[in-house]
Assembly symmetry: C2
């Protein structure tokens, strides 16, 4: 390709043309996404399901096998005809780093191609500071890289970062001195962490990343869902046509900002009703121990009444939020996940569904409620999956035209 740094005319972002390598890349992504969703598939299955010809499917699969992205399983006998050879993703095929930055802790993980966390590091704090996080990543990246088998080290394709938007504007809520969180305003995650790790860095909103994890690893077939992740803050994400929707500025699914009608008039943001920050405040006000809710394995039974009140508020807020989201787009599922014990989450989902059914849904298509399948780790896993999206997952964009 020639030098085009001078004389280059802005290419129109909307009406991009495509070429044959784009076509092949698309088909490879389609194949990989399909295998990921089904666990394992024979070449013939892939041809049928993608609509590609058998030959094309065969060629693509062979090349993916050569790149060690897929491996062959035991041939399946028992049916008439030549046995089919199921192919599945090679867990060692690709590795990626994921960094979750939370209100009380951060986590750095190494994830393999099938979504297993291979190893991790955690740091706790009372509130997040840029300098601490950067140091943590620098040390963690070195240590975790050392733990990766040498032959696999060049399989690492990038670092994904899940971080709350506008951390600096939440100084009061998280009890941090404004001066300490101010550096977040100028923090360029892509540039600074890429300099440290030497990896391509992909950043996303934390709840959006969690949504990505639910989409890729949640094991559900639902291709259109609205997703809520309830942690210190409440946020969300969208999946439309099977693709994570990041938004024009990466701020799609800012569901924590949804205006929720108050019972006594006016409105408040969802985050004021449905965040664990809110629960923490309520616990403190009733002289309980707010650190209890950091234990996502416990049963939170000590919280009794305070928890019940929070669940009432949160579920009412979430019900309105789902209603608003479904007015904007006709989602099939509304999925709620969060940094809390499963039984509490399930109560939250049930109660939200009940609240939802009391609301005026005229003109809205029906929606199914369920809790997330990924759970507490969704943000770290989602962060680590961001580099996969960039290379191996269908993110949007299909040339139509029936193949086959």
């Amino acid at each position: 390709m020639s030098e085009t740094s001078l004389n280059e005319v802005a290419v129109d972002g909307r009406s991009r043309g495509s070429n044959q390598s784009g076509l092949r890349a698309h088909n490879e992504r389609a194949v990989l996404s399909l295998i990921r969703r089904h666990g394992e598939l024979a070449k013939a299955d892939i041809a049928r399901r993608t609509g590609l010809s058998a030959q094309t499917a065969s060629v693509i699969m062979r090349s993916l096998e050569n790149e060690s992205l897929v491996i062959r399983d035991q041939p399946r006998r028992g049916r008439v005809g030549q046995p089919s050879v199921p192919m599945r993703l090679n867990p060692d095929g690709v590795l990626s780093f994921g960094l979750k930055i939370g209100r009380r802790s951060s986590e750095l993980v190494v994830m393999d191609f099938v979504g297993q966390i291979r190893s991790n590091r955690t740091i706790r704090y009372t509130y997040p500071r840029v300098s601490d996080i950067v140091a943590f990543v620098e040390r963690g990246h070195k240590e975790l890289t050392a733990e990766i088998a040498p032959v696999l080290r060049d399989r690492v394709i990038g670092l994904g970062v899940a971080l709350p938007f506008d951390i600096w504007s939440w100084a009061e809520e998280i009890g941090a001195p404004p001066a300490d969180v101010a550096p977040w305003r100028d923090f360029d995650a892509e540039a600074e962490l890429s300099a440290i790790t030497g990896l391509p860095v992909y950043a996303a909103n934390d709840a959006t990343a969690a949504c990505a994890a639910e989409n890729v690893f949640g094991g559900s077939d639902c291709a259109n869902f609205v997703y809520f992740f309830i942690a210190a803050f409440a946020g969300g994400g969208l999946v439309i046509n099977g693709d994570l929707v990041q938004g024009r500025l990466g701020n799609a699914g800012a569901l924590g900002s949804l205006p929720i009608p108050r019972k006594d008039g006016g409105s408040g943001q969802l985050i004021e009703f449905a965040s664990l920050n809110r629960l923490e405040t309520a616990i403190t006000e009733s002289d309980g121990d707010p650190d209890l809710i950091l234990d996502t394995e416990g049963d939170w039974s000590e919280l009794s009444g305070t928890l019940d009140n929070w669940l009432n508020e949160a579920s009412r807020g979430l019900a309105y939020a789902v209603l608003s989201a479904c007015s904007v787009y006709d989602f099939e599922d509304a999925i709620i996940d969060g940094a809390m014990p499963r039984p509490i989450l399930d109560r939250l989902v049930r109660q939200t569904r009940r609240e939802y059914e009391t609301l005026n849904r005229k003109g809205i298509s029906p929606v199914r409620f369920r809790s997330g399948n990924v759970g507490v780790n969704a943000r770290s896993l989602g962060a680590a999956s961001l580099p996969l999206f960039a290379r191996f997952l269908l993110d949007q964009r299909i040339t139509s035209g029936e193949a086959g």
Copy 2:
């Protein structure tokens, strides 16, 4: 292509593969969309803007010229080098029918390739009945076809229909006997109108269709906007990455159903605040003439206080609706249009912007407000543009991979 009606395995809707004709179709759509947006472009411009090679752009343009979809303009001299030959869409290249079904009237139009309405027919009623509409389309299609120059008759590519969702559920609001609107429940627009006209039929929600018109013919460069169309009902549409979002069930942008906080607690749907139905009711209650608002050219000055009250209510509702929509997706523009005089619409937009600025926008990306450029005809125009989407417009789906 071989017979696959038997033995056919469901092709996976998400991970479709693609082929070379899909690639070419994509590139042709990209080229046509680009020309539409820019008015006219030389082949070399197209190559630069799509990222395609000059040769490919040339080949595609020649084939589009052969199909009479584009025509060449006067060569542009005055710059060094061979003069460039700007190409533009051929207005006669494609014709389509559009049917708007409204609460008080329906309209059938013939639209050309550049969005001009060539001719039209209108029918008025107190409420819409399936049998009347069907008869109207049958007669109108015959008459309008007769008005098309014989050589252009086979350029007609389809009929688009813009109709409110769930008409039958609004019997009370539109003052119709439930038995008279019940047939809408079983009305299959695609099948029945296709049988009458012999054309492919594409149906969409009326406000979604209006949004399509704003997107294609609005002349703005904004690729991400939320759109409201205020008529008897209030509805909306979404454009993301330059593409109309229709939704899983065609019910995306059901913005009339958005829950809006009431000042005195609880919530109501946007449509209760911001529809002309609401204004009509208010006029009737204050002993005014509700038919005044059917005159979209008038100045509505007779309505004075009633109109002011409605504008207050409507703009407050719309401000909340924009806030909710922008929490779900970070739109760049919020566009409001409707079946009302321009000056009234502009007041509505200004007041909505002011209301919006009083709301809590923490965590939300900034959004621009403006009134629609298409205006009252948006639904008819949008309906007629639906067949274009099916064939000639980039609707989604780009194979990535930098061409060139």
